[in-house]
């Protein structure tokens, strides 16, 4: 049961990383701000350049 729970947690963490929810959480922590439209807009501005330069493979 514990192994299953660990596996589910890991899967959840992977999905959060792939979908950049973890990156947003780290941004909030780093900037000492809470989740809001404004902070998310600031996060997107920060991400704009790095995300736009990230290729997707064929």
């Amino acid at each position: 049961m514990r192994t299953l729970r660990n596996a589910a947690n890991l899967l959840w963490a992977t999905l959060r990383e792939i979908f950049e929810e973890s990156a947003y959480a780290r941004f909030l922590l780093r900037e000492h701000v809470s989740a809001s439209r404004e902070s998310y807009a600031a996060f997107l501005r920060e991400q704009e350049l790095s995300k736009a330069r990230r290729p997707r493979c064929c």
């Binding site: 929810e21 780093r30 997107l44 790095s50 990230r54 290729p55 493979c57």
Partner: protein, 694 residues
């Protein structure tokens, strides 16, 4: 007492070692049996599970033994050395991340349409050539490239491939790598767009579904920014539900006369729309279109690949395609050319893809916590992608060969009319009738399935065949087919919009050296001009493919394969140079052997594509043939052939230059004329080691 315990412990260790040896021996025997079965079986159909078992055993052995050898002897992974994620951690680009999370992240970035489309096209030779290349190519070349480049980038603070080429081979090496990257992006995007056009032409259902993904993505972008900031997974699930509704609504559109007429588009119209889309996606803010589409596409991609794996293992379908077809002689209708070299450039992703070296030296090295994890992430994720290629081979080969060739053969080869096409294909020994194809088209909700080149429709029919047998039967075949088309088109378009933007930035960086304002990524005139430049470049290739009487894939897919494998040769040159500088010359064959193989493949393929006297293979002989016939519109086709020949020639020259430049560096280092100095970041001990010891 203590002596008895020690004896017991020794006995336990011996038994445990013996058991491990026996298990690996069993895996090796099972792998040999499976590969032997798929390689030697003739005349009878075999079950797809033989391919799955052969792949799993080869991957397990490759990972356990070969990657361990590379890790221990060649790269000497150091668990005590701090990675850039630890040393430069900033919570933004450099972040220490769980190895399984990095694995998932890396796999999501490297898995694109290539491992699905390439194996489907190569199935024209039969199931065997593609399968063997995918297995051997992945274990000895593709995984090694991804693993090695990832580790080398980790040791250089996450430097990109082009930066490493510049540092280790010289400025010329960096320039060649840059041009190779731009070339591959342009050709890749043109080919990807062509695959989508061929999948959607005269298909109101498919076109409607894909058209709907644009407003869905915009809606997701606004929802994510205004309604539920940061809730990406929730938004992706919502987007996915809307896409499913769009697929369901597409059926209504296809059956409704006036709605169907709006969404029944010709190939040139679709090409123009995709070119406009590419331009828009490059010019509008990332959060509005690119990011939500990327999330949606990743969500659908991961889910569908998992579903396909479960479907294949659950149903264990039979392969109807023989091990070899008559087209090994080079007369194939899907693309012309013999197994060597064309099977090896047709399947790039899934075996070895140069594009992966960009991902392995992009985001991933900045997330690695311990050096030792690069093995699992680099080598392991490529094995997973190779498995996707095996599944694509299965999806293509479960089709009756007649059906496969009817879908994938261009009208210029088999004829425009269904009866003529069916008769030509049947005369090759793959019986099919126009009535059977009509019935299949109706079952999947299409007007016709003849001449749907590009691999995507054949893969979709195969996937629908597998899915419908497990869920919904024939009644849901049309839904599954359009789900598969949506899945492919969605993430091909994601590659397209991300690639267009990356290409735009690369051009802006280059032009910024000529005139500073051009390099400003937020200056709108520069954004518009450079977006137009990159879109015009790939758009030209797309237009050329759409207008090609042979369907475009015959000319463009090999060009893409050559470009992609050329990039892999650049990556392997960089890796070999670094090994030699590290004093590991005796292990250089680890990268030198796949490099030599790729050079022989790309040079032979390039030679054939330019100079082969067969007009279906050689660009120049095709141009000559057109010039002799002097048919209307031939001037444009002649120009296209010559342009393709020039592009192929440029790639060959670039690769020759970088190989010679690298070889010069190897000789200088090995002869002692140059100090063997690598530009690694200095060693810093990891804090994790202290934590572990404590």
């Amino acid at each position: 007492m203590i002596a008895a315990a020690a004896d017991n412990w020794t006995e336990y260790k011996t038994m445990s070692k013996l058991l491990r040896i026996l298990i690996w021996l069993a895996v090796a025997v099972l792998g040999a049996l499976s590969v032997g079965t798929i390689a030697l079986h003739r005349g009878e159909q075999i079950n797809a599970m033989w391919l799955v078992t052969a792949a799993l055993c080869c991957y397990a052995l490759g990972y356990r033994f070969y990657s361990k050898f590379v890790a221990a002897k060649v790269l000497v992974l150091d668990p005590w050395r701090a990675t850039p994620a630890e040393r430069l951690e900033n919570g933004r680009d450099f972040v220490c991340t769980n190895k399984w999370v990095v694995f998932g992240h890396h796999f999501a970035a490297i898995a694109g349409p290539g491992p699905l489309v390439g194996p489907v096209l190569a199935a024209q030779f039969g199931y065997l050539p593609g399968t063997l290349w995918v297995l051997a190519g992945a274990v000895f070349a593709g995984c090694v490239q991804d693993f090695v480049i990832l580790l080398l980038s980790v040791r250089r603070d996450g430097k990109s491939m082009t930066e490493m080429a510049k540092d280790e081979i010289g400025t010329l090496g960096g320039f060649v790598a840059y041009v190779a990257v731009i070339s591959i992006i342009v050709v890749l995007l043109g080919v990807c767009a062509l695959v989508v056009v061929n999948a959607l032409k005269a298909s109101p259902w498919g076109t409607f579904t894909i058209a709907m993904t644009m407003p869905i993505a915009l809606l997701m972008g606004v929802y994510l920014r205004r309604v539920r900031p940061g809730k990406v997974l929730e938004t992706s699930v919502l987007g996915f539900v809307l896409v499913l509704l769009a697929i369901w609504g597409g059926q209504w559109v296809s059956q409704h006369a006036s709605a169907s007429a709006i969404f029944t588009l010709s190939a040139p119209t679709l090409a123009v729309l995709i070119i406009l889309y590419g331009f828009a996606a490059s010019a509008v803010p990332v959060w509005l279109l690119l990011a939500p589409r990327d999330y949606l596409s990743t969500f659908v991609k991961l889910g569908t690949i998992a579903m396909l794996a479960i479907g294949i293992v659950g149903l264990r379908p039979t392969l109807h395609m023989p091990a070899f077809t008559r087209f090994v002689d080079g007369t194939g209708p899907v693309f012309a050319g013999k197994i060597f070299p064309f099977a090896f450039i047709t399947i790039a992703c899934g075996a070895i893809s140069g594009f992966h070296s960009l991902i392995s030296s992009g985001t991933t090295p900045k997330l690695i916590t311990r050096e030792t994890e690069t093995r699992m992430v680099g080598y392991g994720a490529m094995l997973a992608e190779s498995m996707v290629a095996i599944m694509a081979t299965i999806a293509a080969c479960v089709l009756q060969p007649g059906t496969y060739f009817a879908i994938n053969s261009p009208a210029g080869v088999v004829g425009q009319l269904p009866q003529a096409a069916a008769s030509t294909i049947s005369s090759w020994g793959f019986p099919i009738t126009a009535a059977e194809m009509h019935s299949l088209a109706q079952t999947v909700g299409e007007q016709t399935l003849f001449n749907r080149t590009g691999g995507a429709p054949a893969f979709a029919v195969g996937m629908a065949h597998i899915f419908s047998r497990s869920l919904g039967g024939q009644a849901l075949m049309a839904i599954w087919y359009h789900f598969a088309i949506m899945f492919e088109a969605l993430f091909i378009l994601t590659v397209l919009d991300a690639g267009t933007r990356v290409g735009r930035f690369m051009i802006q960086d280059a032009l910024g050296h000529v005139w500073k304002p051009m390099g400003r990524t937020s200056w709108y005139p520069s954004i518009l001009l450079n977006s137009a430049l990159i879109v015009a470049a790939w758009g030209y290739f797309l237009w050329q493919g759409v207008k090609d009487p042979l369907g475009g894939i015959n000319s463009l897919w090999p060009l893409f394969g050559i470009a992609n494998q050329s990039l892999a040769t650049v990556a392997l040159c960089v890796a070999t140079t670094i090994f030699i500088k590290m004093g590991k010359a005796r292990y250089a064959p680890v990268t030198l052997t796949p490099l030599a193989w790729l050079l022989s493949v790309t040079f032979t393929a390039s030679y054939h594509k330019v100079f082969d006297p067969n007009p279906r293979i050689g660009f120049l002989s095709h141009a000559r043939q057109l010039a002799e016939t002097a048919a209307p519109g031939s001037a444009r086709l002649i120009f296209n052939d010559r342009l393709d020949a020039i592009v192929t020639g440029i790639l060959t020259v670039l690769i020759t230059v970088i190989v010679l430049e690298a070889a010069r560096e190897w000789i200088r280092v090995l002869s002692g004329r140059k100090a063997a100095r690598v530009s690694e970041a200095p060693f810093v001990p990891t804090r994790f080691a202290t934590e572990e010891q404590a």
